[in-house]
């Protein structure tokens, strides 16, 4: 008995293949998003943890001017410290053969001829600098890749103003530089920023640090609190120009990874919930309607003596098969897309290897969600189908009850033709079903909007950043705070049209228990090359005193204009002062605090010192300009803003937009699946009426109108709803994506709304086309013979 039913199951599946495929796509999309989000999240988390654990990643970091090696012993006695290592960090400039742009770097010492105890290096190729060799250097992998450098190649490095030619001994990765970014940069630039390691003795000699150190790393005993250790280190190092010890959490590399993980954690919940939720809903509606169409078959089976349980099981198997196909599709494509996305992350987060696995947990979870959604849809439909007495299906169909809607009571009602009346009354009669269709299509329109809004929002953000905020061509930083007259020298640099200087002071801002390490940027009251923008993106005139904060930072610290904030200066005399928040500004990228430059000099109790400058230049004379600037000893770095812009746009294309692209593709397939299924089911429900009309002399196109008109009407109502839903989804996503690096503005352009609408309309047009093709094959005779 069951075997015949199983055959029916297979044939039903084949007969419903396009609808089943569309439903499987909807499930697959939801599962895929879950798999992508969770497995890439796991990949970053697991890879990070493995690298940190196996390479003794430090818990605490401290930089200082210079201290004799003897201080190390005193630091080791601080309670809570497990291991502590001193080292030398030296900013350097490099010349790479065949590359004209300025390259900056940082050289870090390793104990002569051996691995450091803390922040051990992962050797990708070659070896550590040989003991006793003073001309060998180990370089970081991304820099070696960017310039195709390998062990045995030579580099020219300017350490402390002296040019040295060094030989590369090997290529390595460090847990300290998983996310490798130059000081003052927003994003990695592997061509123009290098991390290198050298024997301690050699570097000490070259950097004037024999028997001394300027950097400390330490690990903590398990369970030890980090704050007291930091306080003790700060106290010990203050006389030696310490700029404040900080925990791992404040290390740029680690912070970026953690932010990425946190963002991903939120997205890993928000996106799959949205997608699987939509899938579950659609599944419920679509399966329900498919089964309702088979009511007669259910009655016949019952008449033959099949029990309700057997019938329920039969349909359970039908939906189960679809769910399994969908889940498998989702897992397959999800794993494939995760690999792509993990590859992108691997470009930015340099772990020895990216450990990507799809965990059984995720598979089981997504399968359960899909099964639950399907079960719900199936159960409701099967229950209503089996509750029908078998005899009822054998009789000619009782006409459905209709009434005139309010629309027809109006004047409009008189001018409607009968086909339009059919459309309106059908929708009115099946209000719940129509509402579900509208909601389903609205959801898919919402997903389309969610997937696409970032394209415009990100573009807008970058336009603001690089047209209104960063207006210079070149950005210079000095090794130390310099007197203002340094600016005058710069003005005479060949190719420099305009020079604007700034002061930048590293600080820790503190309000209550919240604190944040950043820099106060001291600018001219009306800066020309560095815009500080108000909420309407107009240039803000800096007040003569008081701090101006990025809104994100103000919110983080719970500050608003008029509040006092504690400013702990991490440079020079390291004074702590109280400052008033004068204004809050809208910066999309970075987390900055601003002050009028002289006001900043005043609180630093210094003369008109500057930390760097922005230049407008004659780009055709770049070579000449760089050559000249290289000879200015105090210049620590030269950055090209256009490179930075190119970098950041590339980064966004790689990560954010890739993710959004995947989402868009999924949203598009869902939109199509929903509209197609909807039209298909409507067709099945109406086949008899449509055939009757054909017999009565209606042409194909006139009959098609009844189908198209209904789909179109539903789609037109669904679009505004979709806009509303999509705006909500986008807002959720936007909240989830807010982080230090950048805050994509919550901006949905009319173009984005139009895009979402166009996507659904396109899906509707395609589905209609497919349905109209079926209409060509509509068999007038059999439709008249068969009872619905």
């Amino acid at each position: 008995m069951i075997r015949a039913l199983e055959r029916k199951l297979l044939r039903d599946l084949v007969g419903l293949k396009s609808q089943a495929a569309a439903i499987a796509v909807v499930i697959g999309a939801g599962v895929m998003v879950l798999i992508i989000m969770v497995s890439t999240l796991d990949a970053v988390r697991v890879s990070m943890q493995r690298f940190y654990d196996s390479h003794q990643f430090a818990d605490v970091f401290a930089d200082l001017k210079r201290a004799p090696e003897g201080v190390a012993e005193r630091m080791r006695t601080i309670p809570g410290i497990n291991q502590l290592e001193t080292r030398i960090r030296a900013p350097v400039r490099l010349e790479v053969p065949g590359f004209d742009d300025p390259v900056r770097g940082v050289l870090i010492s390793v104990p002569d001829g051996r691995q450091p105890d803390i922040n051990r290096l992962y050797l990708r190729s070659g070896s550590l600098p040989a003991p006793g060799r003073s001309d060998q250097v180990l370089i970081a992998e991304p820099f070696s890749e960017a310039h195709r450098l390998e062990a045995g190649d030579r580099l020219r490095v300017i350490i402390n103003g002296r040019l040295e030619t060094l030989m590369i001994s090997g290529v390595a990765l460090s847990p300290e530089f998983v996310y490798q970014i130059g000081p003052a940069d927003l994003l990695p630039d592997y061509e123009r920023f290098a991390v290198m390691w050298m024997n301690r003795r050699t570097l000490g000699h070259a950097f004037g640090m024999d028997g001394a150190f300027n950097s400390v790393v330490a690990t903590l005993q398990s369970g030890a609190a980090v704050e007291p250790v930091i306080d003790a280190l700060d106290a010990l190092l203050a006389p030696y120009g310490g700029v404040g010890a900080h925990p791992r959490e404040d290390l740029t590399s680690h912070r970026f990874i953690m932010q990425r993980i946190e963002t991903q954690e939120v997205m890993a919940v928000v996106l799959p919930v949205i997608f699987l939720g939509v899938s579950a809903f659609l599944l419920n509606v679509l399966l329900g309607r498919i089964i309702r169409i088979q009511r007669q078959q259910v009655a016949v089976l019952k008449a033959f003596g099949y029990s309700n349980r057997q019938i329920a099981l039969h349909y359970g198997q039908l939906t189960g098969a679809i769910v399994i196909i969908g889940t498998l599709l989702g897992i397959g494509f999800g794993a494939w897309a995760s690999r792509g996305l993990a590859g992108v992350y691997a470009e930015y987060f340099r772990f020895p290897d990216m450990v990507l696995t799809v965990q059984p947990r995720e598979i089981v979870l997504s399968f359960l969600v899909a099964v639950a959604a399907a079960a719900l849809g199936t159960w409701r439909a099967v229950r209503s189908a089996v509750s029908l007495p078998p005899a009822e299906a054998m009789r000619p169909p009782a006409p459905e009850r209709f009434t005139r809607g309010w629309l027809e009571a109006s004047v409009l009602g008189r001018v409607l033709d009968q086909p339009t009346r059919i459309i309106l009354r059908n929708l009115n009669r099946h209000r719940f079903k129509a509402a579900m269709s509208v909601l389903g299509i609205g959801l898919s329109a919402g997903l389309l909007l969610t997937g696409s809004y970032q394209f415009n929002a990100v573009d807008h953000m970058l336009d603001v950043q690089y047209r209104l905020v960063q207006k210079a061509d070149v950005h210079l930083t000095f090794t130390d705070p310099s007197p203002e007259r340094a600016a005058a020298e710069l003005r005479h640099t060949p190719g420099a049209h305009y020079v604007e200087v700034y002061r930048s002071v590293p600080v820790r801002l503190r309000k209550g228990h919240s604190h944040y390490r950043t820099a106060i940027l001291g600018l001219d009251a009306n800066p020309k090359l560095r815009g500080v923008l108000d909420a309407e993106h107009r240039d803000l005139k800096l007040p003569p005193s008081g701090l101006v904060l990025t809104d994100y930072l103000a919110e983080l610290l719970g500050l608003s204009p008029g509040d006092e904030v504690e400013v702990e200066v991490m440079e020079g005399r390291r004074q702590t002062i109280q400052a008033e928040v004068a204004a809050v500004v809208d910066d999309p990228i970075g987390v900055s605090a601003y002050m009028e430059r002289q006001a900043l000099n005043r609180i630093m109790r210094e003369g008109p010192a500057i930390s760097g400058a922005w230049l407008l230049t004659d780009r055709s004379r770049d070579g000449e300009l760089f050559e000249h600037l290289w000879d200015v000893p105090r210049v620590a770095s030269i950055g090209l803003i256009s490179d930075a812009e190119r970098n950041i746009r590339g980064y966004i294309e790689d990560t954010v937009l890739l993710m959004m692209g995947i989402m868009l593709l999924l949203a598009g397939s869902i939109a199509f699946a929903v509209v197609y299924n909807n039209a298909r089911i409507t067709f099945a429900e109406r086949a008899r009426e449509l055939a009757t009309l054909r017999v009565l002399g209606f042409s194909r196109s006139e009959v098609a109108w009844i189908l198209i008109g209904e789909t179109l009407l539903i789609v037109l109502v669904a679009i505004p709803l979709g806009w509303l839903i999509g705006t909500g989804f986008a807002w959720l996503l936007n909240q989830a994506m807010t982080m230090d690096l950048m805050r994509v503005p919550f901006l949905i352009t009319p173009g984005t709304y139009a895009f979402a609408a166009a996507g659904v309309l396109l899906a509707a047009a395609l589905s209609t086309l497919l349905i109209v093709r079926r209409l060509q094959k509509l068999d007038m005779i059999s439709a008249l013979k068969t009872v619905e």
Binding site: P396, F402, E689, G697, R700
Partner: protein, 241 residues
């Protein structure tokens, strides 16, 4: 063929009509060379058992289906070679259909079910006139769900005749109705045939209905097995089964 009547204007003329269709992998010979004429204004009843080919014949005459071989002419028009749009036009302008299961559009009232045809016809009567013709002037604004089976079939007849078709084709019009209601429906068909002189063909397996016909065509196994004229045409009201 046998024609004692004086004005035998031929409306439909079928010659050697053959229809073969595939039911799965089986070839069904539904019609095996039918020769037939239908005359203007007459009421023909086509009798036959299930599978005798009567419905296939009606469908081909009505432009719903095409023949495999042979010819069908409607006046001067060849229906076998006609395209879909020509057949659509033919149905729209000349043919009225009545179905076993009425096939009313459940979302439209009686009046609107008739209007759906009058809206696309060249010279229709008003829906009200058509409904009056079938005795449903009081039920015009009722939805199909508010009408009895017989009433629904009368609406279907009103819908079929409202365009003033030259031909009225009825496929088992009483098949889903009880005897009393069936007679009432046949009365309406008879009335239309008489009043409007509409050429009418009724297919049925109910032999009793044959008594109301001018001519009775018997089909079996895809062939015309007998044609005879009733010398005395019984009124529908006299029928019962």
């Amino acid at each position: 063929m046998s024609s004692a009547k004086p004005t035998p204007k031929v409306v439909f003329s079928a010659r050697d009509l053959t229809k073969v269709y595939l039911m799965g992998e089986v070839e069904i010979h539904a019609l095996r060379g039918v020769d037939l004429d239908l005359y203007a204004g007459e009421l023909t009843v086509m009798l036959g058992a299930s599978g005798s080919g009567k419905s296939t014949l009606l469908n081909i005459l009505g432009g719903l289906d095409s023949a495999t071989a042979g010819s069908v002419r409607y006046g001067e028009q060849d229906l076998v070679a006609a395209s879909d749009s020509v057949l659509t036009r033919f149905r729209r302008d000349h043919v009225g259909f009545v179905f076993q299961f009425y096939n009313l559009i459940s979302s439209l009232t009686a009046r609107e079910n008739v209007a759906i045809v009058t809206e696309i016809s060249r010279d229709p009567m008003t829906p009200e006139e058509a409904l009056e013709l079938v005795g449903l002037q009081d039920r015009m604004d009722h939805f199909p769900s508010q009408l009895s089976g017989g009433e629904q079939q009368r609406v279907a007849i009103a819908r079929a005749v409202a365009k003033r078709p030259a031909v009225l084709l009825c496929d088992e019009p009483t098949g889903a109705l009880d005897s009393k209601t069936g007679v009432r429906v046949l009365e309406v068909i008879e009335h239309i045939n008489r009043e409007l002189a509409t050429t009418t063909a009724v297919i049925t397996h109910n032999v009793i209905i044959a008594d109301m016909a001018d001519r009775v065509i018997q089909l079996s196994d895809g062939r015309v097995s007998d044609i005879h004229s009733n010398t005395h045409r019984k009124a529908a009201a006299e029928l019962s089964w």
